[in-house]
């Protein structure tokens, strides 16, 4: 066990830091507050720049445009990006989840066709997984694909698709064999979202925004060469994507949480409670310390998990504890923010009295979704129980 950076890691960090110093756009602060529809071209341009510098997907193999970097180096990258106050990358799902799945399961042609444009943010990717009647029980999904000559014909509906409004391509899980057991009749298709019969509609969520979309498929024709992995082996392909989502993808979140708790500490020094700074209130101190500590534990759990992924090559079911940990922790942190801010906590971004432009009212509402998206806390606990601890299936 040695958490000091190796010479190689230090070199990586120094190179990256120097590159970021020169290249991080200075006007990100102004763009940050704008609606994502407005800032998206800006984020695409930023990702292209990162890609040109060789920093967009450092942990991918060199032949696919990465640096063959370790997950530790990937973690260093996120930390340095946060430190430099760099904008996020536009093609988050392509880089974080779908690209690695294509690299793992795709044919050479598919890799050549899709990977470069994922890296350059020329093609934005989404996931078509959940359906109105297939949420936690994902394998029961009904969207069907029927082989017709050298095309699959897709009919059905998907829901909770991030980046649906701007997506070009979709990693779509469909049923190709209705007679097989539910996990054995699924296939993953890579679908061009401009295909005729492919419709995207915004889904307004409880925060008031439309971060997610619904996808409708009416006789959408997908070339058979766009099957990712083997026909009827789609469950394994989809689970591979989900493991990246639960494990490594969540790893950058601790940086956001750390920023939040540090900001709350600052606020606690100026906000009064019973005539004194809240930072002197024994109960507030306890709550802030608890959040601070758990955010640090989240970081350490992830570093340890990275060590294990490095040994085994792929993220495993134990990544579910990261998902449970960060999602439930964020809800606690947001609640502490509300307690600290009192009546100010509820103010929305448009209100002139709002603290930090309303991020805390938004954060509180948004955090409700954390224990549902990317697999509910209940499903994560099923996964831990069955796949990690070896308990019998509960369903």
């Amino acid at each position: 066990m040695d958490l000091n950076l190796t010479a190689e890691e230090r070199q990586f960090r120094d190179d990256l830091r120097a590159w970021l110093e020169v290249n991080v756009p200075k006007d990100w602060g102004e763009w940050r507050e704008k609606p994502i529809e407005v800032s998206f071209p800006y984020l695409r341009a930023w990702q292209r720049k990162l890609h040109e510098g060789g920093w967009a997907a450092v942990s991918w193999p060199k032949v696919y445009g990465g640096r063959g970097a370790s997950l530790m180096q990937q973690a260093i990258l996120w930390e340095e990006m946060a430190r430099a106050e760099a904008p996020p990358m536009a093609n988050a799902l392509g880089l974080g989840l779908i690209g690695p799945t294509i690299i793992a399961y795709g044919t050479e042609e598919q890799k050549k066709r899709f990977i470069p444009k994922i890296l350059s943010a020329e093609e934005i990717w989404c996931q078509g997984f959940s359906e109105p009647n297939a949420g936690s029980d994902l394998a029961s999904l009904q969207t069907e694909a029927r082989l017709d000559g050298d095309h699959y014909v897709v009919n059905g509906q998907k829901v909770w698709t991030s980046y649906g409004w701007v997506g070009n391509w979709c990693e779509l899980v469909v049923r190709t064999d209705a007679n097989a057991p539910k996990h054995k009749g699924l296939t993953v298709l890579l679908v061009d979202m401009k295909s005729p019969g492919f419709e995207v509609r915004p889904l307004r969520q409880m925060t008031g925004e439309s971060e997610f979309h619904e996808l409708f498929f009416r006789d959408v024709r997908v070339p058979a060469e766009n099957v990712l992995g083997k026909v009827n082996d789609g469950w394994n392909v989809a689970v591979s994507t989900l493991m990246y989502e639960r494990g490594p993808y969540g790893a950058r979140l601790h940086l956001l949480f750390k920023r939040n708790i540090n900001r709350l500490i600052e606020i606690s020094r100026t906000f009064l409670r019973n005539g004194h700074p809240a930072a002197q209130d024994p109960l507030i101190r306890q709550k802030i310390a608890q959040c601070y500590a758990e955010i640090e534990i989240m970081r350490l759990n992830q570093l340890r998990a990275f060590g294990r992924v490095t040994e085994t090559g792929v993220p495993g079911p134990e990544g579910s504890i990261q998902k449970v940990f960060w999602s439930e922790l964020n809800q606690r942190v947001q609640q502490v923010a509300q307690e600290l801010l009192g009546p100010y906590g509820q103010l929305l971004s448009g209100d002139s009295h709002a603290i930090d432009k309303g991020i805390w009212s938004y954060g509180y509402l948004r955090s409700r979704g954390n224990t549902i998206e990317a697999g509910t806390s209940e499903v994560q606990r099923n996964i831990i129980g069955h796949f990690v601890l070896g308990l019998p299936r509960s369903y």
């Binding site: 310390a289 990275f306 606990r381 831990i384």
Partner: protein
Amino acid sequence: MQFGLSESQQMLKDNARKFFAGECPMDEVRRLMETDTAYDAALWAKMTEQGYTGIIFPEEYGGVGLGKVELILLMEEAGRALLPGPFFSTVALAGAAIDIVATPEQKKKYLVPICSGEARSTVAMLEASASWDPIDAQMALVKGRLTGEKLFVPDAAVANSIIVVARRGVFAVDARAPGISIKPMEGMDLTRKLYSVRFNNTPAERLGNAAGLARGLDVATAALVAEMVGGMQRTLDKTVEYAKMRKQFGKPIGSFQAVQHQCADMYLETESARSVAYYAAWALEENTLDAAVAVSIAKMYASDACRAVGNRGIQIHGGMGFTWESDLHLYYRRTKASETAFGDATFHRERIARLVIDAGTVSAKSA
């Protein structure tokens, strides 16, 4: 950067698990807990042979010279086995404090016999106020002698020397010195005996530089957290095993989500406590700037998580878990003692607040 254990660290841990399973199985734990001191000379000699009593001490004093991470791995396995007796008190508590605080001559005097297995030691800190902040100690050295009472002193009856935390100093006292009277305190944990130690004009030797005491206590605290992690893992393992085997309504109870999700939480709590215990050990070894915060985070989290794991484990065992025959309550008892030792979660949250809120080192930009 590698969070995983090195080959030699993994080997040390595996060997320790085998050693404790062979030399101190549960029936031996139960035999020892019924004795007055829970100390067994033969077991101690075997642990000495393994190098355990000198694990972190420099070779010039007869130690093995390994680091805090190795200590933590050994403590984790000791915790898993519910090792009774004065190992923690001697090595992780008194030994670590002597190693940091004492002069070279004093180390020779006190560490050499610990490493060689001839002597055991402990630390006497708490007084009637039961404060874990050393600054609250009232006992003071007067003309080279100590007078007064220390409480909750672990394993004092088998200690050859007692390290006393007093005002303006840390002192070593020979356990057979005049004026000492040691009386058992009957605590919940049957495997680690507590004592009140009364000093009456007892001669004491000032140890080197007391400024290092806080760091010594941090080493002990991290070691205790590792011991708690071992106990959590054992409780989790036993509970999962039971949930697979025990049938109700015609099915293993582990197939019910109400049970399964509690097991998942036990796993999450155990793994999280382990992550931060290892990190705290490494931070102490490397003397990082956040070492003290890391220790407090570890003890804060483990104090609550260890209790939660014990609660869930007994609950899932149902009526069986409530019997004397079940081993779970033995771990549960140790947990309650460990939870308060060196400060509970509330104590350490306040310490974290002092270090990160009051110190003013935190700014929103330093994310």
